[in-house]
Subunit: 383 residues, 4 copies
């Protein structure tokens, strides 16, 4: 598929995700980590306009200079922006206006992509498409948060099909021997700068589970008082539990003594066989600690990942999000993409059921703060 077709395909996928929404669903921001869907629609458009059309497409006419202020996410290089907590306070531009902006930029991009392009520009377009795929995942998770925190618990779509994972035949842990392993990206295709450079690490002998922890297993932790026993928790995690009165994963509701959870179909009975989802790093760590086990490091995960199935939930690792040897930020605004977040976050590996098709790979490094739960996050144990 050529780059212009790729562009159309990725852009259409974003719109398809939003096709189940009411206008009002596009607008709200119930917590600071969630962005209004209409903001995602506009921001991903602004990204192409700002980093490709304006600098490289001769004669391109900016759609509306005010949109720079509205749709910049965190690029300090590009100027001031609506503060993050205010995204849900903006009724204008309307959804319709933003879709018009999107159409305008798409048309320009379509013209531009059918012209002669340098490799540098192609790379930038591919970065923009990968960026948009990341927002597709965020759209799914933010929409879930918006609808799942509404007292009416509306369904996103009754036709949504959740990924089914067949558990490994045996629960036996996979064992890898002590030695030097190579990690990091070195293929031909696209990768983010945080996956480079491929380099050697020394791993001690370890074992890793072929399966994710299930709701059934996690319920045992809850029922045995796991949320009330400080011994399993980091000091900071224990404070988080007490201050926020955490008693279960996000989206779980105990109704008439039966555990339910909110899904894209609405409120449903909890399926005990499915992997536990929507837990913070603090909870993942506490569960592993309660089990007498631990989370894998991101390098253990990468070394072993060919031997198990992954892709249902992002998996918390014990690794902090740090630069690989030789990591260097790109110059300019694009350099703000990853590097400036490399502190006080944990690495997640794998992918989730709402990750865009073709977006995941074994060297991919996702990262979140330790208390966040609105992503599709799960637990794989190691020892």
């Amino acid at each position: 598929m050529d780059i212009a077709d790729c562009y159309i395909k990725v852009r259409k996928h974003t719109e398809q995700i939003c096709s189940h929404l009411q206008t009002e669903d596009y607008v709200v921001q119930p917590v600071v980590d969630v962005s209004p869907p209409k903001w995602h629609i506009g921001h991903t458009t602004w990204f192409f306009e700002t980093f490709i059309l304006k600098p490289y497409f001769m004669g391109y006419q900016e759609y509306n200079p005010d949109y720079n202020y509205v749709f910049n996410s965190y690029y300090e290089t590009v100027g001031n922006r609506v503060i993050r907590t205010d995204r849900g306070n903006l009724s204008r531009p309307t959804v319709l206006e933003i879709y018009r902006y999107r159409e305008y930029v798409d048309e320009a991009m379509n013209n531009f992509l059918r012209s002669e392009l340098t490799d540098d520009i192609k790379e930038l377009v591919i970065l923009g498409l990968n960026h948009e795929e990341q927002h597709q995942e965020l759209l799914f998770t933010d929409i879930k948060y918006i609808l799942g925190h509404n007292p009416l618990f509306p369904a996103y779509s009754k036709n949504y099909i959740s990924l089914k994972v067949v558990p490994a035949i045996s629960d036996e842990f996979i064992k890898l021997n002590e030695g030097i392993y190579e990690v990091g990206f070195n293929g031909d295709g696209f990768c983010f700068d945080n996956e480079l450079n491929r380099h050697k690490v020394y791993l001690n002998t370890f074992e890793i589970s072929p399966n994710l922890v299930t709701n059934h297993e996690y319920l045992e932790f809850i029922n045995s008082g796991g949320y009330h026993d400080f011994r399993h928790w980091h000091a900071e995690g224990w404070d988080w539990v007490k201050i926020n009165k955490i008693e279960a994963p996000l989206y779980w509701h105990l109704i008439d003594d039966e555990w339910h959870h909110y899904t894209y179909h609405g409120l449903e009975m909890l399926n005990l066989k499915e992997p536990v989802c929507h837990i913070s790093y603090f909870e993942a760590y506490a569960y592993a600690s309660w089990k007498g086990l631990r989370l894998p490091t991101e390098f253990e995960w990468e070394a072993a990942a060919t031997q198990f199935t992954w892709g249902k939930n992002w998996e918390w690792t014990e690794s902090s999000y740090l630069p690989y040897p030789g990591f260097a930020k790109a110059p300019g605004a694009i350099g703000e993409y990853n590097g400036k977040f490399m502190v006080n976050q944990k690495v997640l590996r794998g992918a989730s059921e709402v990750t865009s098709p073709g977006h995941s790979r074994i060297t991919y490094r996702n990262f979140f703060q330790t208390h966040l739960r609105w992503q599709f996050t799960g637990i794989r144990l190691a020892k």
Copy 2:
């Protein structure tokens, strides 16, 4: 006009106010004091359903029990409710769904009002209509806040006509002599419980201005450093100025050294002849103190109000919002209407250009906390 026609007229007026909005404008809540317009639409409907149809209209079928949770404002008697800060996080029910709810309740009310009604019920309906008129004013002020805090500064309606007030011919203060005056409501029509009972007060000789303070006069206060001189301010007001970096009334913007303000027509040059508007009690007090004058008490205002024009801006008084002698809360939820707010608020007298027609009277007592500015609030001086 009979009560059923009154009902229709008031209800239509609410919808007319919202007719200039985009769907998205109905949804957002940029600060806690502002409610999303769709919430007002639903809440005023819920008021009639909860306090009239459900208890008194035989055979009435509740529209949706969940709406009780969504549209209760502050009536603890009636049960739990969405916390105030979450009103802007609700994308559902949608605007369309809420209008359908409104239609359903209006049809039931129409049937009910055309049946035989007791005086008690009639009184309750009239209370409901006055309640809705209060929300009409809030709709205007909340819409102004929503659009006026949007970085695009969209107009509400280019056809909106602002009330023009002809200033008194002379600036000379009106003088009233020392003695006993009567204040409070004693007419035939409707009044709120906080206007009762009519009672005697003793006033010292005082003088009161026939005119409101203008933007021109207020600019002198700003230009003479009024916001930077603690001597004019209450200690609490001075903290408020410093913490919030207040430098001018709400909606004022200094652009290229020219003062502009946001109006229902969008951003405009400041009209110096108009009364200053959107100031807190703290600012009203500081201005008066800077002038060597003071604000009137609510009783001075009421005693003198026949001698000047009012109705452009609600006017801050020096009086705290307290119960009149013999004040008693009504039993049940209706008793929560006024009494429980009688602490740490200041009385405003008069009315504003966005007060609903027929809603104001000389004994009317509005009240807000001392730091609030999103209402159409102004200054009349006394000495």
Copy 3:
């Protein structure tokens, strides 16, 4: 007694109050409203140095210019100061150093007061002594807070003698008839500016209790669920109860199902016959509301006060703290004494058992914010 002797007597009383303290007790500030005793010792000294010695005593040598920064309370006119929340973070100057400062200033004052003084200066000295008496009361209440919030509950002094009040023979309410009454100070001696001017008010017929509400009566309110029934509370009071999980007056502890309270003697069983003490305005209002009664206004209190005994606890009134007709702030720093606090506070009338001898009078107006409880505050009912 001449003014120099008065000076010595008042100053010695302050030191006598502190004579039971350990050095460490002088230093801490467990909440923002409480000041460390050593700060009171220094601040009252600074007051005489700043407002009397430096401007009026020729040749007076300032003790230490840095102390101006440390011991200024809230006089913006006089310059910068340690922020209030930092008072408890200062280990220096030490207690000993502050007492040396006090001695130095006292010696200078002694010399100054034995010289020829103008009436203006005498007035200022008397203001300084009244100011110090207010801090004597604060010393008592702050010391109680410091020791009463220590997990060891140390006694202040086993020899402290609490004021006993003989209740009125009959519980019957005292009735006053409708009419014009005069309130405010008009005698010869000292009064604060907020008690001036004496003026007329119109009161409706009212009745007022000859006795304060007792612990026994207040326990009935607690036991009948008063802290869990929103109907008795202001909306703001109800929020305060829920956020702070208030269940009883300050210093009350339920130990093995028996109510105790912290006193200057340490933890003791609650004496049911004593007036209830250490309650906020919110609680006083809620209690009155639960009883179907109300608090008196400050003018009702003043009109009736000759007919009942007062002086055990400061009594909350329904009146907001507002300027009397004709009130004008003094020029300069002294003008900051009272006026700038006249917003969002309630008036208390009477005096308390820790008020300094000779400091109280029938026109005295004390004032606090509605949530504060560390003063000796009580309830007298009216209807």
Copy 4:
């Protein structure tokens, strides 16, 4: 030296550190991270009483059961405790009372240590002494904070001698080659559980500076606008700079255009040749980024540390504080010592001029949150 003599020596050293304090200096807690010196005196005593005397010394009589509540730091296993922010609110027990408690426990320990001891108990005593040495360092840093934030800037002791470090002859970076290195403790003496187990790591070729960054070098960063250029900072660090208006290291003051800093001798001119000190991880990272270099990892540091001088300032590394392979928490309260802090903190390596003699070693892992500056923290660069 036998263990009883060791005990006496370590305990005396603590008291010697405090010998320069006034009673008041022992009491205050200007920020949550700083503990009052008297709390350190009591807590280190409580540690021996709780973990050694009570469980193992037959017939030992607990000094005062209430002290458990007062002096427990963070051991959830041992029960409730004064919340950390309240440590500075406690005037009792007094300094004298705490020294009496200390004497009582020391006498019991002296008797106990001269009896027959098992190896387990000896180990526990040695842990207690190392724990006390950590508090000796904290005493130094907390005292500096207490006195250095007092507006009078009192000296701790004019006789305090600061460690002088002779810089390396050449500034040339030390180069280590790619390969497997061993890190972690494996000697005979004492180490903390977080230094175990010794294990292999793979390091890429790197270079590390023989010297710490000096005040002179750091001033260049300041003067070139380093605190105002987001590009050098982590997103979280940039927020920290802006919210806290950070412009220079802690204790630096620009007075009449000359940089001063607070030292144990009081306010002094900044010595440009000394290593920069009292900076957060955020600042260390930003400085390195501005230089086009980076911080070393803790393993790079450990591999190279024999080739340079260290011990003046703790040195920030790029490594997050994580468990070593095979790390396991000890059972019971002692297990809370290190493990529960292994999240969202950075490792520091080396030691500082206020580290107790004999307390440091090449495998020692200190750790703090990324914004903290009150420790003696510095910067060593790598590439």
